[in-house]
Amino acid sequence: MTHRTPPTGSPAVPEAAGHLLRQMLRVRRLEEQCVELYSAARIRGFLHVYIGEEAVAAGVMSALGPEDAVVATYREHGHALLRGVSAGVILAEMYGHVQGCCRGRGGSMHLFDAATHFYGGNAIVAGGLPLAVGMALADRMAGRARVTACFFGEGAAAEGEFHESLNLAALWRLPVLFCCENNLYAMGTALARSQSQTDLALKAAAYELPAWSVDGMDVLAVEESARRAVDAVRAGGGPHFLELRTYRFRAHSMFDPERYRDKAEVARWTERDPILSLRRSLEATGRFSEDDWNALDREVAAEMEAAVRFAEAGAPEPLDDLQRFVYSER
Amino acid sequence: MERGKLVEWLVTPGDYVRRGDVMATVDTEKTVMEVESFEDGVIAELLAAPGETLAVGAPMARITPTPATVTATPVTAPAGIPVAQAEVEAEREHTTPSPGAGTPSATPPVRRLARGLGLDLTRITGTGRGGHVTRADVERAAARQRHDAGSVRPVRISPRARRLAGELGIDATTVAGTGPRGAVTGEDVLRAAREKEPADVDDRPGAPRGPGPVTAPAPAPPDTGQRATALRRRIGTLMSRSKKTIPHYYLGTTIDLQAAVAWMHAVNAQRSVSARLVPAALLLKACALAARQVPEVNGFYTEARFRPSQAVHLGVAVALREGGLVAPAIHDADTLTVDQLMERLRDVVTRARTGHLRRAEIADPTLTVTALGELGVDTVYGVIYPPQVALVGFGRVRERPWAQDGMLAVRQSVTATLSADHRVSDGLRGGCFLDLVDEMLQRPEDL
């Protein structure tokens, strides 16, 4: 069942590739904005950015349909944005404003959005997996052809909930797409320093589910493998597992001094920047110019500027509402 | 006043305070008072939290002296007679003489232990170096006290019983307890109250008539009512003590106020409303001056002897609109001009009614004057505020028929009375005082 290499698909269609480039750039610019706003103390708490890993969210999200559900981690700004939550609403949430997607109650690590079936924003490593299994169970019992995509890092593979959830999903053949974002470090602990079996697809395959390793820096490869997996899951093929090999260019969080990895290692991975790579290969086709890039960049920058203005204009929820949403309002 | 509730801290640790700075407010049942610092220094530690009820003299905060000052002293809860309580930082103990000559040295934990056991450190003989009181000394003293107390058992009173006793005017310590380990319960208090005043107490339908279930008491009265009740209780206790311990004698005389009132009218006619005088200002000034000449009415009777006061701090009885009265001091009244005195009178009365008196104003009066007569009566026979030794009463200032030089005239006059402590003075000296008051009121311009 285990494919040791990603399935090779048809060559990239330029329009689709242009879309993916744009999506990755939106995530990149949003998070650069976040870092800047964090430094300016407009955003507080923990802030984990996804810079370097954009190909994973962009590729998987474009393979999902609008009714599918997404369960993500605390490094989920990009996932939320690409699922359709606006940048302004995301930033407003980080500002702690009532205009945020969770009225400022969640913050950076807990973005949720019912309209786009975006189920967070889960900050307990592996804690989202059982949730995704349950979502899929409900879909199966109700006869809905929906897929639940569940993102988690490679660190989750050391948690019991990872194993319990893969087992349960495979046992009951539930429509879950497990997306393991393997960026090689669980905070500061390298994969090899924390797990006896570092081949995560192999580990997942032990639960008798299709598990593929994919180059997570190549958005076209991610999109292609995700599309195949989603189709298979939707068709009743049971849960699938993608190990998406990627790298985080920035520190784990704004508090991380990065003592655990070499600058040289970071530099090596930065050369494989998924945005730069796709831009270069598109330019090589001759159908994408520097002007096209500049226009795209300006457009995305304008979107983010508007988002910041939206967030800035918001306000925190009145303190009198503190006790709301502990129990449902009936 | 025996205890007060800390309402608010106005300082935080690290604040620099000067002597006289207001540091906290304390609710004493009577009024909300401001607590001042008596030291210059830095607030090292707050020892009490808002809402806490503190015994008089209990340390509230620790003030560390700045290099410029010499001693460190705690701010204590306001007291009628301030209790010297030092809580000096340990490292200073050995180098700095303790404040107050009679206070022996001891480390803070030992002081705390002594306080917790209710022992007076000044009565403990220190066996440590340089007369230092040690933990063992305190423990020995405590054992001795227990032995001396013999079989006397502390009275246990339940919270409900304490509340009911207060509401019903019962001394709960005299009620036999039937609760856990002999504690006085609410039922015990209700029973005692029924026995005392069968017709008066708890006549509500469904009220307990004997052993058996007890209905819930009526809802608590609103806040002002509670304060008034507490104040009434407090006044009751104080006045009972006064009547029980002070042998009062009473003198009275009617004073011609024609000259004083005429002078006041003349002065007032020149002034805006806000600068006008009232007769009470003149009466107070006359009393203050007279008290200087008759020291037997001005001071405190404590520990079986009279301690006359050099200064004349006149307590002014102020009726509170919700009931009850307080008598805050106008300090050094004898040294103030009439105008100054008038200003202080208005200020202190306003603050008394809004509940913002300062600690010293409650604690310091050396002689109290009441002008209750303003509201109608001709003569006031007052009860002395212990530990003071006299109280001056003025009735209504009004026109009365007055015989003088064989002629009958109508003149402004007032009846002045003196209630005084026979342990300190007798009628002759009391009469002297009233005569002096009279005499001074005849020359108002000299007041």
Binding site: - | H265, N268, A269, S272, V273, S274, R276, V278, P279, A280, A319, R321, E322, L345, R346, V349, A371, E374, L375, G376
Partner: protein, 80 residues
């Protein structure tokens, strides 16, 4: 000042000096000292308030004319 304004001014002054007195439904015949229990200092404050806010100076010689709520209102109406 008409009677209505004078009444308002007297009520305002009374509420200031004796916040516990309900001016609504206050009997005009109430005596300031005996019924409302205003002592001389209260009375002075009342007069002061009227001077400041209603511009009516009640000289000491007229104190005897304003012993009740009604007479005070009339006095203020007349002198303002």
């Amino acid at each position: 000042m008409n009677e209505h304004e004078a009444r308002a001014a007297v009520y305002a002054a009374t509420s200031q000096v004796a916040p516990d007195v309900e001016t609504q439904g206050l009997d005009d015949r109430s005596r300031l000292r005996q019924d409302l229990e205003l002592d001389s200092l209260d009375f002075l404050a009342l007069v002061e308030h009227l001077a400041r806010h209603a511009g009516v100076d009640v000289p000491e010689g007229d104190y005897g004319r304003v012993g009740t709520v009604a007479s005070l209102i009339a006095y203020v109406a007349e002198h303002a």
